[in-house]
C-alpha cells in the first residue's frame, strides 16, 4: 500500500515541478494570514523614547558582563555589556545618553519575572561612537567571527541565538548551502516581508558576507508565496550574487521552522539528533543577515530591529525600533490601541506569548507585537475529552502522534512520552489549532518536557552527589592508606636502625598480640600497607645485617595504629635462621589475624552491626571509622532525598 502511495506521489511530483520541486513536509495548517493590515504603510522609524530599558538577557545563552556604571555617559553603539562565555551576546547602547540605572525590571518573557536591565536616559543627540567598519573581503575569517562576537547580533527571527556561534570559522563545519529564512509563516507578522520589499539589496549584500563566512557554495532564499512583492524584490537583488536563488514555497504554517524550510527548499531531512550544519546547511533569517551587513560595512552593532505592530491598533505598521524602547511608545506611534484591547502578544498568534504587562521594553526577540482583543483571539471554550480523531496527527509537521503524547503527558507517563519522541515536538501549535475538543495540547507538551527535564536534572544532580561522595570516600581511604604506609615506613626504618635495642626486643609478643585488633580495625587498607611495610623492613634488615649500619636505635618506635609493623624486624639480627623462622611465624600470625578480621567484618555486615573490635581500636581509628560511617549515611540520605522516586 505504502509502495503504491509513494509511487503515485513520485509520479505526481515528478510531473508537477521537475527538479525545481518543493519538498513538502507532513501536515501543517493554513491559518488566516492577517498580514495585509501591517503592510499598507512602509517601515517607519520610531522616535527616540525618553527611556530605554535593556535587559541583559535578550538572547539564548549566558548573560553578558556589564561594562558601564550608573551615571556614565555612553554613545550610540557603545558596548554596555560584553559577551561572556561562548554562548552569549553583547548589548550596545541604542542611542547616546546616560546610564540611569542597573536594576531588575520586568522583561518581555512569559514568566513575567523581573531580570537585570540597564536603563538608559537618552540625551537626544543620537551620537554614534567611533564606528569601525571591517573590510570583510580582506580580513581573516577568524578575525571576522571574533569581531561578530562583539556585534550583539542574534537571530532576529525570534530564536535569538547568538550569530557568531552560527558562523564558526574553525573549519570544522563544511557548509555547502546557506538558506535564508524569509518564509515568515506566522500570521500577522510582516517585519521580514517589509524588510525585503524595502531593503532587498542590503539583505543580499549581507547574504554575500554570510556566504563568505560560511564558505557556502550556494544560497537559497525561501519565501512563502503570500509575499509576491518581497519575492520580486529579492529575486531582482539576488541577480547580483552568483549561485543564489529565490525559492517560493507554498504558504503553509510552519514552513518557517528551520528544519521544515530546509526540507522544503532542499529536500534534506535533518536527522532528529543532528543539526543542520551536520548536513552542510546553515539557516539565517533575513533580518539577521541585514544586521550582519550593517555591522561589517558600517560598523553598526545591533541597536534596533524591525517590529510589526499590529492587531487592535489604529495604524498597524512596521517600525524600526531601538532596543529597549518601551512598548507603550510603539503602541502610541501606531495610533494607540483600540478600545477593547485586553492585552498584548509578543510574536505571532501560533507561538507567541502574552506580555505580562505593557511596561516592557522591545528586545531583540520582538518581531511582532499584537494588540489582542477577545474578538481577534477568542478565549478557548472549555476542553472536551480527546475523541482520538487524529486531526492533530494529520496536522503535525513532525509527524508525531499528538493524541498519544497528550495521553502520556496527561497521565504523567513521561517515559512513554519520551519514547513517542516528545522532544521532537517544535511546539508550533498546529495540533491545538485543529483540535475539535479545544485541548491545549502544546501546554501539555511544555509541561511534560519541563517535568522530564527537571527529573533528568535532579537525577544528574543525585548522580553527581553520589559520585562526589564515592570519590570522597575513596580519597579518605587512600589518604588513610598513605598515612599508614608512611607510619610503616617510618617505623620500619626506625626498627631496622635500632635492631639491637633491648627495649624493642620485648616488642614481638606485644605486637603479635595486638596484631588482630589493629589489622581488623584498619581493614584491607592496612593489609596492603602491612605487606608493603614487611617488604621494606626485609630490605632494610638485609641492609642492616651487612653491618653497614651500626647506629643507635631511634626513639619512639611503636605506634598503636601501626603496632603490627615493627614486629617483623625483631630478633632477626641475632640469628638469620632464627630470624627467618620468627618472620614466618609472624607472617602466619598476621595472616591469621587478617582472616579473623575479615570473617568478623563479614559477620558484622551480615548481622548489620558495627564490628565489635571497633571498641578495642584506638581513639584515632575509631574516630576515623565513625567519620566514614557518617559520611556514608549522609551520602545515602542525600541520594534518597534528591531522587525520592527513582525506584518508583
Amino acid at each position: 500500500m505504502n509502495a503504491i502511495i509513494q509511487f503515485a506521489s513520485k509520479l505526481i511530483r515528478g510531473q508537477a515541478a521537475g527538479s525545481d520541486a518543493v519538498h513538502k513536509f507532513h501536515g501543517g495548517v493554513h491559518p488566516d494570514g492577517q498580514k495585509q493590515q501591517s503592510t499598507t504603510l512602509p517601515i517607519a522609524k520610531l522616535a527616540i523614547p525618553e527611556r530605554l530599558v535593556l535587559p541583559l538577557r535578550q538572547h539564548v545563552g549566558y548573560i553578558p558582563k556589564i561594562k558601564v556604571q550608573v551615571g556614565e555617559r555612553v554613545l550610540k553603539g557603545q558596548m554596555l555589556a560584553e559577551a561572556e562565555g561562548t554562548l552569549s551576546a553583547a548589548i550596545h547602547a541604542p542611542t547616546s545618553g546616560t546610564v540611569a540605572a542597573i536594576s531588575e525590571e520586568i522583561i518581555p518573557h512569559p514568566s513575567g519575572l523581573p531580570d537585570m536591565c540597564i536603563t538608559l536616559t537618552p540625551d537626544g543627540q543620537d551620537e554614534w561612537t567611533t564606528l569601525q567598519p571591517v573590510d570583510w573581503r580582506n580580513t581573516d575569517k577568524k578575525t571576522l567571527v571574533a569581531s561578530l562576537r562583539s556585534s550583539g547580533i542574534v537571530g532576529l527571527g525570534g530564536a535569538t541565538f547568538p550569530t557568531h556561534i552560527k558562523v564558526r570559522a574553525d573549519g570544522k563545519s563544511s557548509i555547502h548551502t546557506l538558506v535564508i529564512n524569509a518564509a515568515e509563516c506566522e500570521p500577522y507578522i510582516t517585519c521580514d516581508d517589509m524588510l525585503m520589499r524595502e531593503r532587498a539589496d542590503e539583505i543580499v549584500q549581507g547574504m554575500e558576507i554570510v556566504k563568505f563566512l560560511l564558505g557556502a557554495e550556494s544560497c537559497i532564499v525561501g519565501i512563502e508565496d503570500n509575499k509576491p512583492e518581497a519575492t520580486t524584490a529579492m529575486a531582482e537583488a539576488c541577480k547580483a550574487l552568483p549561485d543564489t536563488s529565490v525559492k517560493v514555497v507554498p504558504t503553509l504554517y510552519p514552513s518557517g521552522d528551520a528544519r521544515r524550510l530546509i526540507h522544503l527548499v532542499l529536500g534534506i531531512e535533518i536527522p532528529h539528533d543532528k543539526r543542520s550544519t551536520d548536513v552542510g546547511v546553515q539557516v539565517f533569517n533575513v533580518a539577521t543577515v541585514l544586521a550582519i551587513y550593517r555591522y561589517f560595512v558600517y560598523g553598526e552593532p545591533a541597536v534596533d530591529r524591525i517590529v510589526t505592530m499590529t492587531g487592535s491598533v489604529n495604524m498597524p505598521q512596521n517600525f524600526e525600533v531601538l532596543f529597549g524602547t518601551p512598548l507603550q511608545t510603539l503602541i502610541d506611534t501606531a495610533g494607540g490601541a483600540k478600545a477593547g484591547t485586553t492585552h498584548f502578544i509578543m510574536g505571532g498568534p501560533m507561538m507567541g506569548f502574552d506580555l505580562p504587562t505593557i511596561n516592557v521594553p522591545i528586545t531583540k526577540a520582538a518581531n511582532c507585537i499584537i494588540a489582542a482583543t477577545p474578538d481577534l483571539f477568542a478565549p478557548p471554550p472549555p476542553a472536551m475529552p480527546c475523541i482520538r480523531c487524529a486531526r492533530c496527527a494529520d496536522a503535525c509537521p513532525v509527524n508525531l502522534q499528538p493524541q498519544e503524547l497528550y495521553w502520556f503527558s496527561k497521565s504523567d507517563d513521561f517515559e512513554k512520552a519520551r519514547d513517542y519522541n516528545l522532544f521532537d515536538c517544535i511546539e508550533c501549535g498546529c495540533c491545538t489549532y485543529v483540535c475539535p475538543s479545544n485541548i491545549p495540547l502544546v501546554q501539555y507538551y511544555r509541561y511534560a518536557k519541563s517535568e522530564i527535564i527537571a527529573v533528568d536534572k535532579a537525577k544528574e544532580a543525585a548522580d553527581l552527589a553520589r559520585e562526589r561522595n564515592e570519590f570522597r570516600l575513596a580519597r579518605i581511604e587512600r589518604e588513610k592508606l598513605e598515612r599508614a604506609q608512611k607510619h610503616a615506613e617510618r617505623a620500619a626504618s626506625g626498627k631496622a636502625e635500632g635492631a639491637k635495642s633491648e627495649e624493642v626486643k620485648a616488642a614481638p609478643e606485644k605486637s603479635t598480640a595486638e596484631t588482630p585488633t589493629a589489622a581488623t580495625t584498619a581493614g584491607d587498607a592496612k593489609k596492603a600497607a602491612i605487606a608493603a611495610a614487611i617488604e621494606r623492613a626485609k630490605a632494610l634488615k638485609a641492609a642492616a645485617q651487612t653491618g653497614e649500619m651500626q647506629k643507635e636505635p631511634s626513639a619512639g618506635t611503636a605506634d598503636t595504629t601501626d603496632s603490627s609493623k615493627p614486629a617483623q624486624t625483631e630478633q632477626t639480627k641475632e640469628d638469620p635462621a632464627n630470624a627467618e623462622q620468627a618472620k614466618k611465624d609472624k607472617q602466619a600470625l598476621i595472616a591469621a589475624a587478617i582472616e579473623r578480621a575479615k570473617a568478623q567484618k563479614l559477620a558484622a555486615a551480615q548481622a548489620g552491626i558495627t564490628p565489635k573490635n571497633v571498641e578495642d581500636a584506638s581513639p584515632a581509628v575509631k574516630a576515623e571509622i565513625s567519620e566514614i560511617d557518617t559520611i556514608r549515611e549522609k551520602a545515602k540520605q542525600a541520594v534518597k532525598a534528591q531522587n525520592p522516586d527513582s525506584e518508583a
Binding site: 539528533d273 506569548f353 478557548p380 472536551m384 521532537d424 489549532y433 475539535p436 501546554q443
Partner: protein
C-alpha cells in the same frame, strides 16, 4: 503565561457529530421508504433513551451535563444502533440496547473519549446474544410484504407487539438475503438459483440496496467534509471486495459475488459510520488500514461461515480489542528519524 496558539480552526465535537447525523439522513429516508415509518419511532426512542441515560450517568458521575449532552455523541450512538436493529423491533429492545450502549459501553468506561468498544455495536451484540429470535426477524420490505403495515400499525406493533387483525407475523417478515443465502447454501443449493428469489435485488437485497446506497451517499459527504479519513472505508470496502472476489472466483456456485457483499447487510453503514468511530478505532493512517481490513475479513468470515446473519458487530468489537496493539505497531516515521 505561554498559552499559544491563540487561534484555532477546528469544528467542535458537536459539529462533527452533527455532520455524522446529517450524513445518516439520506439512509434514514431510504429506510423509512423501504420499511415504513416505524424506523423514525425507533430512532426517536433510542435518542430519548440515550440522552436520558447519558444525563443520568453524567449526574451520577458528577460531570457537567450540558456540554456533554450537546456534544451529540450519544445521539450518534442511538441512531447507529436504531439503524442496526430490525425495523420493527419492540420498544423495550430499543431501550435495553441503547441503555446498555450508553451506560455500560460508554459511561462506565469514562464517557466520551474513553470507551474502548464501539458503544452501538456493544448494544447490538448484547441484544443479538440475548434476544436472537427477535434480532433476526426482519420485516420484508414494503414492496415485497404480503401485507403492508401502515405507520400506525407499525407504531402499535412496536409498543404492544400487536398486529392488525387477520395479519400473521409471517406475512410481514421475511428472511434477509444474507440469511437466506446461507441457509439455502447449506441445503446444497447454488448461488445462482438462490439469488433468483424475490428478496434479492439488482446488487444486494431488494429494497435494502437503496438504503445501502443512501449510506454510501452520506459517507461520501463525510469524506468530502473531512470528518472521516479515506483510509477506513476504502480499506474496508476494498478488503471485503477482494475477499469475496477471491472466494467467488474459486467457486461462483458457493460464494456470492463481491457486489452482493458490498451492497448487503451493514457493509456501507459499517464502512462509513461504524468503523469510523474515532474513539474506539486506531489513530495512525496505517493502523486504520489494518483495522478496517481486519473488520472486513472478520465480517466476511462470520457472514459465510459463522452462525450469525451479518458479522459486522462482532468483527468491529474484535478489532476494537486490537486497537492498542495496532496503534503501537503502526507508528508513522517521525520527521528526522529512521524507520523504527
Amino acid at each position: 503565561m505561554n498559552r499559544s496558539p491563540y487561534i484555532t480552526d477546528a469544528p467542535t465535537v458537536s459539529i462533527i457529530m452533527l455532520k455524522v447525523l446529517l450524513a445518516l439522513v439520506p439512509g434514514i429516508f431510504a429506510y423509512a421508504w423501504i420499511y415504513g415509518g416505524g424506523i423514525l419511532v425507533t430512532i426517536s426512542l433510542a435518542t430519548i433513551t440515550a440522552l436520558v441515560a447519558e444525563a443520568a450517568l453524567l449526574k451520577l458521575r458528577q460531570r457537567p451535563i450540558r456540554p456533554y449532552l450537546s456534544d451529540l455523541s450519544a445521539v450518534v450512538t442511538a441512531w447507529l444502533l436504531a439503524l442496526a436493529l430490525p425495523p420493527l423491533a419492540p420498544w423495550w429492545l430499543v431501550v435495553v440496547g441503547t441503555f446498555f450502549a450508553i451506560v455500560i459501553a460508554k459511561q462506565l468506561y469514562g464517557g466520551l473519549g474513553y470507551n474502548p468498544f464501539n458503544p452501538a455495536m456493544v448494544g447490538y451484540a448484547v441484544l443479538l446474544i440475548s434476544f436472537p429470535i427477535i434480532m433476526t426477524k426482519w420485516p420484508a420490505p414494503l414492496i415485497l410484504a404480503q401485507t403492508k403495515l401502515g405507520f400506525m400499525d407499525q407504531l402499535q406493533f412496536i409498543f404492544s407487539n400487536a398486529l392488525p387483525a387477520n395479519v400473521k407475523i409471517d406475512a410481514v417478515t421475511s428472511a434477509t438475503p444474507l440469511d437466506y443465502l446461507k441457509t439455502q447454501l447449506m441445503l446444497k443449493h447454488e448461488v445462482y438459483g438462490i439469488t433468483q428469489a424475490p428478496i434479492f435485488g439488482v446488487w444486494g437485497a431488494k429494497g435494502g440496496e437503496f438504503v445501502t446506497a443512501a449510506y454510501l451517499l452520506g459517507g461520501l459527504y463525510l469524506l468530502q467534509q473531512r470528518i472521516i479519513s479515506w483510509h477506513l472505508p476504502t480499506a474496508f470496502l476494498a478488503t471485503l471486495a477482494a475477499m469475496s472476489l477471491a472466494f467467488y472466483t474459486i467457486s461462483p456456485a458457493h460464494f456470492a459475488n463481491p457486489l452482493f457483499h458490498l451492497m448487503s447487510g451493514a457493509s456501507m453503514l459499517c464502512a462509513f459510520f461504524i468503523i469510523t468511530d474515532p474513539i474506539s478505532g486506531p489513530t495512525t493512517p496505517r493502523g486504520k488500514l489494518y483495522f478496517a481490513a481486519g473488520v472486513a475479513i472478520l465480517t466476511y468470515l462470520i457472514r459465510v461461515y459463522g452462525g450469525y446473519p451479518d458479522g459486522v458487530a462482532f468483527a468491529v468489537l474484535l478489532m476494537n480489542m486490537c486497537v492498542p496493539l495496532i496503534d503501537a505497531h503502526t507508528q508513522p516515521r517521525v520527521f528526522g528519524h529512521t524507520k523504527n
